[in-house]
């Protein structure tokens, strides 16, 4: 059985102060046979060297990514470093860091060796994979496809790296003091573990009367919608004039129904489209298959907050929680406008005093939409809030 604790510090300037704070929090917590730490922090902690110092000081493997606003028990803030510590005697954790992955290259090819070397250290096949991929041009789905090719039917949970800028130029992944903008960090978990997953996203009652079929696409590049060039489609409904991205495009969630997928499970997946390329094609964060049908939505801050609240309420009803890891899409935070801490504060208020939890913002969310009877449907999401309960 897993035991956990969440460490945090706001000290992003002084390495010693930061390390001491974490050590004090860790003091008295028994580390069992196998331990791993998931570290999330603002980029400030990298620049000041606090991240490296913390990794050096902690007596276990640490992986993670940069993020922005976070929340732990009793605390919610912008500039934080948090570490979710997972320890157990009968659960095995092995961390990995792949070779650098060139943007738009084959994820599986560049991560297979890394995965295999880590998997070889496990006493048995993994039952859960935490992924912390870099923010590349690749679609988030490619990471799922890669890991599913290595070990099919294993739930994958995690987040794309993000930072606190709008341009996301300083997103890093972490591995034991190392950091990179193009290496994938991951944790393979085996043994006595039964993870549960929750997901909250845009409600389909917020659908707008703009619906379409993706009539031509290649992965996350949407070439045509309703047989019209993607940029022309958006022009036709009043968006993105003159084929240029109007900044707001990435704030427009697509409620996507993968009609033609073999593993179609009737649960719409939310997608984001980031910009139009020189051909007028829409570039998204995740796969938008040909034949998929979508609705555009325009959720308000209240509606997004409502979906987070719903997830937290469901989470609270789950029994036997030892550790909770929650990631929420960065665009949800941006929708809160002058109340950037609204979601984080709600989570702190609702979950404090209970099992240890960590909340951070994600650049893209990895969470199964179903995991029952040993069969898992792994999905990459946007605009969603996800939770893994151990």
């Amino acid at each position: 059985m897993i035991s956990s604790i969440t460490l945090f510090t706001y000290e992003f300037d002084n390495q010693d102060i930061a390390v001491n704070e974490l050590n004090e929090q860790l003091h008295g917590f028994e580390l069992l046979a196998h331990t791993v730490g998931i570290l999330m922090c603002d980029t400030e902690f990298i620049d000041s060297g606090v991240y490296k110092a913390v990794c050096a000081a902690l007596p276990f493997d640490v992986v993670g990514t940069t993020t922005m606003t976070q929340a732990v028990d009793g605390e919610a803030g912008v500039l934080m470093l948090t570490v979710m510590v997972l320890t157990a005697d009968d659960v095995f954790f092995e961390v990995g860091y792949t070779e650098p992955i060139p943007s738009n290259s084959n994820i599986a090819e560049h991560s297979k060796a890394g995965y295999e070397s880590v998997a070889a250290r496990l006493p048995s096949g993994p039952k859960l994979i935490f992924v912390f991929p870099p923010l590349l041009e690749n679609a988030g789905d490619e990471y799922i496809l890669a890991f599913e090719s290595f070990c099919p039917n294993v739930p994958i949970f995690g987040t794309l790296a993000i930072d606190d800028s709008i341009t996301f130029e300083h997103c890093h992944t972490f591995h034991n003091g190392e950091m990179s903008q193009d290496r994938l960090a991951f944790i393979l978990v085996s043994g006595n573990v039964s993870p549960r997953f929750l997901m909250g996203t845009i409600a389909d009652e917020n659908k707008l009367p703009y619906s379409g079929e993706i009539t031509k696409s290649k992965g996350h590049i949407v070439q045509e919608i309703n047989n019209a060039l993607t940029s022309k489609y958006f022009e036709s409904i009043g968006f993105a004039k003159n084929g240029k991205l109007d900044d707001g495009l990435q704030f427009v969630p697509f409620l996507l129904d993968f009609k033609k997928r073999a593993d179609h499970d009737d649960i719409p997946v939310v997608r984001a489209m980031v910009y139009f390329d020189e051909n007028g094609y829409g570039v998204g964060r995740g796969y938008m298959d040909e034949g998929s049908v979508f609705f555009l939505t325009n959720p308000s801050a209240d509606e997004i907050f409502k979906s987070s609240l719903g997830l937290i309420d469901r989470l609270r009803e789950l029994p036997d929680k030892q550790a909770i890891i929650i990631f929420s899409c960065v665009v949800r935070r941006m929708t809160f406008g002058t109340q950037p801490l609204r979601e984080a504060e709600m989570i702190t208020e609702k979950l404090s005093g209970g099992p240890p939890f960590m909340f951070a913002y994600a650049g893209g969310e990895f969470c199964p939409t179903s995991y029952t009877d040993g069969k898992v449907t792994n999905r990459f999401h946007n605009y969603s809030i996800i939770a893994c309960v151990l």
Binding site: D13, E44, V78, L79, D164, S165, I166, L208, P209, Y210, I237, G238, F239, A240, D246, D247, G248, L249, Q250, F251, V252, N298, M334, T335, G337, T338, P340
Partner: protein, 561 residues
Amino acid sequence: MDNDELLSRLKEYETEIRNLKRQLHTKERLMETFRLNMATQENFYAAMMKDKFQRDSYILQLLNNSPDIIFLIDNSQKYLLGTQSAADFIGVSEAAALTGRDFTVMTERYFPNEFGRILLSAVQSTLETGATQFFNATLKERTYDARVVLLIDEHGKRMGVLVLFHDATELMNAKSEAERASHAKSEFLSNMSHEIRTPMNAIIGMTAIAKASDDHERRDYCLQKIEEASTHLLGVINDILDMSKIEANKLELSFSDFIFEKMIEKVVDVINFKLTKKDQNLTLSIDKRIPGKLVGDAQRLSQVITNLLANATNFTPENGDIRLDARLLSEENGVCVLQIAVTDTGIGISKENQKRLFQSFQQAESSTSRKFGGTGLGLAISKRIIEMMNGKIWVESELGQGSAFIFNVQVERGAENSSEESEQKIDGKTDDNFAGRHVLLAEDVDINCEIVLAILEPTELEIDCATNGVEALEMFQKSPERYELIFMDIQMPIMDGFEATRRIRALDIPRAKNIPIIAMTANVFREDIEQCMEAGMNGHVGKPLDVEELLMSVRKYLALA
């Protein structure tokens, strides 16, 4: 200040600067987030407005082009909007001019009558109870199906009512017309039943009497009656068949040369017995300028004239006068326009009844058929025939003053040496003795075979009978040189007449290629005759057999043999 203090102060300032930079960075990020959010909302607003304008445009076009009268009244009984048809119905030129007006005041102004009262009551009732009101209304000679339906919003709250008037006038008229036509057809069927049963009764009755009688005179009398009844029955059947051809658009004309005067003679021959019976006088007047030879459908033309003359005799009392006038109205490029008029001193026809005369299944009055007999199809058939000849038929009549049925037709001037003449030469032969000559008859029905044998018996033709196509083929194959002519029924068991003909023609025997094969069949439509020719037959004789037609066929083909 010493160096340590300076360094310490410097560190503090650096920390301060970093903090300020972070705060600035945070503020910048916040502003950028606001800007992106605003851009998103602007996009959505623009898209929503575009969609709204598009929908408004569609709705407006829908309203402007809808034939139904539709308008909306709100909860406070104010006119909201409506179709242009609604504006026209109410009596204003612009639909928009009615928006916002009190509906009670509107009904008082535009419908100060029972209709307005019913309409207002329906609107108010629906607003109050929510129940849909249905009613019919007649206004300005139009009949409407009306309904008033409650409108509710997405929260179930009442918004007003929708009033819809659907013009059902055409539907009602079509329904009345259909009912009338159905009634007329029912009457016609009843009439036809009578027309068919009456001669059948005569045939059956007279046959029974003849069988039971040993008296030759009585038997001759019975046979005479049977013949008359059969002829009448055939006429009824032909009328019905012609009418069905007309209804199916399959009535066709067959053009050939004919002599106009001879055609008139034949018609008079046919009608003569009726004239004699009622002691009526028939006067003929044929324009000398009418060319002797014409090209047209003589059979159909004579059918029309015969029909008009028959009507004239029927509806003229005894000792009355009937006149047949034929005039040449004009001739241009070989096309003659003839005008033929049949005038009588009969009962005449009212103006009201004249309107219905040429319609099928109609007589002037339904009582006419009961009093004067007839199918009521003759004039409709005649009209169709005349129109196919690029002509026109009409009546001039007054009740009690007699009638004149007049028609114009176009026919072509015939050539001097036409086939009619050579036909006449054959026709001129009266010595029908074909002793020693052989004919093959393929006929599966015994009575039909018996009739042919009986008709041709005086000619001493030797007739061999086959009961189906296979037998006919075998008999011919066995003795091809024996037969000079084959009469071939079409509908026979085992092998029909078409197949038998094709097989005979396919035989590797010279005689098989040129022996005349004449179809003998009740199928007399043009396509049936064409089918006979395609199978390899040379001619056609219709059933029921016409004795003269059969003999003409025998004469023609045996003369050619």
